[in-house]
Amino acid sequence: MPDVQPLVSDFVLKLKRRKVEGSHAVARQTAELLRSVVSQHRMGSSANQAAALADAVRAVGEQLIAANPIELAVGNIVRRVLHIIKEEDISSTAVGIEGLSVTVDSDDEYDREDDDRPSLSAAVLAAHARNALRAPSLQTLLEDIPVSPAISRTASSTGDSDGKSKSAGDKTSTRKLKHDVIAAIGDLIDEIDSCYEPISEQAVELIHQNEVILTLGRSRTVKEFLYAAKEKKRSFRVFVAEGAPRYQGHVLAKELVEKGVQTTVITDSAVFAMISRVNMVIVGAHAVMANGGVIAPVGMNMVALAAQRHAVPFVVVAGSHKLCPLYPHNPEVLLNELKSPSDLLDFGEFSDCMNFSTQDGSPLLNVVNPTFDYVPPKLVSLFVTDTGGHSPSYMYRLIAEYYSADDLVVRRKSTA
């Protein structure tokens, strides 16, 4: 794909230099880039088209993930696109093997619907995909016997079984696959853009009257969440912990005051003191892991512990593009990133301390400035995502819907 390579290199450079930061912006730009990649990809022979397309996406995705490993949203979107390709492939294959399912004696609703219509609705497609990806179980065996074995076969073999429409269908199926994938990626981009609305709609269910809410740092999702509650005339006041060393809490406090929300800025160290008077803690996240653990700005673990101690609900609001299929113990996952110590110490004052060293040459003064904190799932009460409210133990189900198991490691498969 020579046409799209400059775009890819450009984005890789932006990621490396941290010119684009924040899960939302990164996710959106990654999705757009992958859409370009897919549209520029030249589909080869009909055999394994989907696999070739997926391979192309994997090649680009590997570069993007390596550029900024801590930005998990990149990997999330890459895996989503791979899953989309797989799903679209399955749905087009399912169209192809429509005929097969007629012969099977089945009470399944979905199969009957497939008989009626040549073009399948999105829900049916999704159901097919889910059925196909489900692990073998009694239900799978009873319902989907013809479908599962068909998936493992290549498109050509299924085309053979049908025969008549296959030769004409090859070209259309190629274009259809690409078209469907691009459309689905477009849906994904829309979903990323509009993730705030479904989350904000749940604000009225959680915030009642005379609530005292605590948050740390600045999260756009939390801001939209609180705005929505304010629109619906809920009465609440907010304690904003400033979130050292970036002090983004000050910015959030300003924004909330502009909307007329009663806001109080407190230091991070005062959280334990104030949390006894707080009804609810609502925070944003950098990423949500497969076990329900949260990677959040530094200081969040302390807030979560304090909330647990005082039996205050700890609510994490996050769009679905932040949901990562990896577990925290996975060696691919970098849980943290250390930033420059200049945020903490003024070099002018401490430059003389940096000179002294011990016998083995290491400095006596070390400054550690981590960006993120890991919050274990047992401290989180509720996840509010654009698909609704979930408990931490449910997150693996969402992951099964959005991602495929063999995409966990994004590595280019060897070309045949």
């Binding site: 230091t267 104030m274 302390m302 512990l305 304090a306």
Partner: protein, 436 residues
């Protein structure tokens, strides 16, 4: 440091003396302290003391000389009042203060140097203001001025007139402020740290006792108690007492009540002053030495009756996270900071602190809506071990409960040298066993 309108002047750094002439003149009336005294310069009563010409041996004068001077000087001082004009009085006042400040600063060292404090405290010179009053109110005025040990209260939430009377009598408290350890930029109080505040307060009391002289017809004990109550209420108005200060005041009142009626005034004063000296020495300075394992900044740390630790904000967060990761938390606290109060959360009893790190523009926009506590509560289950000068215990609540609170208050008749015995007795604690 963000300049705030409440402060008419920047604070002096330790050891730096601002010439008195540069300081702004305080307003004429100060409603707050009217109960205690007339602070406008018009009242002759206030200026009587300052009007006295300084004795020749002023900077090196020792306690005994001054006590004698004071005792003798009462009846003779009065006729001199009308003769000096206000300007002359002020001039003399300034000269005396400057001389006194110079002498004080050499005499008073920071709390860190225990031996220095011990040896130099008896040599506190008396400025010529060792004059005598006719009535208690005048004594109150003078010593209230001496006693301005308190740091400048936090800007946001103090009435405006509290700093102003302080301006008038800043020499002495600036001298006492020579003990302060932290720069003003770091904390709003000029004297910060429970120990420093307590020592400063006790030294001021000591001076008050020195300067005080009983009118012939009154009983020293009553007067002293009355005065100490008024001083304490003044102190509380400036800033809420720390727990160590509360304990110290209780100790002092106890000592006053235990004074034998038959004692002469000078004996009573000497006894009280030596009590104060010993208190400072044994409770604070020696206790610091005994606590060899100092793992955390002992800026301010008190332990309440239910084992809760009351200390600077942020301590609770650190203890909580350490506990969550299985890191032991050791609290080092002098025993005189134990308190029989109980507290469940940090909000019921606290002080406000200045908000730092907020840009001025942001502060305007969020309309100064920030709330920063100065202290917070660490629950006892986060504390692995409490280490005091009396021993260590894995159960802070029990240690506090078993420590003889009575001892802290009633020291009559008890030899101060019992301390080593106490440690031996409580060596049992170190094995980790609980006291029953």
């Amino acid at each position: 440091m963000i300049p705030t309108p409440d402060r008419p002047r920047p604070p002096p750094r330790p050891g730096v003396r601002v010439p008195h002439a540069l300081l702004p003149r305080p307003p004429v009336s100060s409603s707050r302290l009217d109960a205690l005294s007339d602070l406008d310069g018009d009242d002759d009563d206030v200026d009587v003391s300052w009007a006295r010409p300084p004795p020749p041996a002023l900077p090196e004068s020792i306690k005994v000389n001054l006590t004698e001077t004071k005792n003798r000087g009462d009846p003779t001082s009065v006729p001199q009042k009308p003769k000096l004009s206000k300007a002359e009085r002020r001039a003399i006042q300034e000269a005396q203060r400057a001389a006194k400040a110079a002498a004080k600063e050499t005499g008073v060292k920071s709390t860190a140097k225990a031996s220095d404090v011990n040896t130099k405290m008896p040599k506190q010179p008396k400025a010529g203001k060792a004059s005598l009053k006719k009535d208690v109110s005048q004594a109150n005025a003078l010593v209230a001025s001496d006693k301005k040990t308190d740091e400048h209260p936090p800007d946001k939430d103090r009435k405006k007139d509290v700093p102003q009377p302080r301006m008038q009598f800043d020499d002495l408290h600036r001298v006492v402020k020579a003990k302060k350890r932290l720069d003003f930029n770091i904390c709003p109080g000029d004297i910060s740290g429970g120990n420093a505040r307590c020592i400063a307060m006790l030294l001021a009391f000591r001076e008050a006792i020195n300067d005080y002289s009983t009118p012939a017809e009154k009983i020293p004990v009553e007067i002293l108690l009355l005065k100490s109550s008024s001083y304490v209420s003044f102190l509380i108005e400036c800033r809420p007492l720390s727990i160590s200060m509360g304990n110290a005041i209780r100790f002092l009142k106890n000592r006053i009540t235990k004074l034998a009626l038959a004692m002469s005034e000078s004996e009573a004063k000497a006894s009280l002053q030596s009590d104060i000296d010993r208190f400072i020495n044994e409770k604070i300075i020696v206790a610091d030495k005994i606590l060899v394992q100092t793992l955390r900044d002992k800026d301010y740390c008190a332990v309440l009756s239910n084992g809760t630790v009351y200390s600077r904000v942020g301590t609770a967060s650190v203890a909580m996270v350490a506990h969550a990761f299985g890191v032991p938390v050791l609290i080092c606290c002098e025993a005189y900071k134990f308190h029989e109060r109980v507290q469940l959360d940090s909000i019921c009893f606290n002080e406000l602190d200045a908000v730092v790190h907020v840009s001025f523009l942001t502060l305007l926009i969020i309309k100064s809506n920030s709330c920063t506590c100065r202290y917070d509560i660490t629950p006892s289950d986060y504390v692995s071990m409490l280490i005091t000068d009396y021993g260590m215990s894995a159960s802070p609540a029990q240690l506090v409960g078993c420590t003889d609170m009575e001892y802290l208050n009633h020291l009559a008749g008890i030899n101060f040298n019992f301390l080593p015995a106490r440690i031996a007795v409580l060596a049992v604690h170190r094995t980790g066993s609980h006291v029953h």
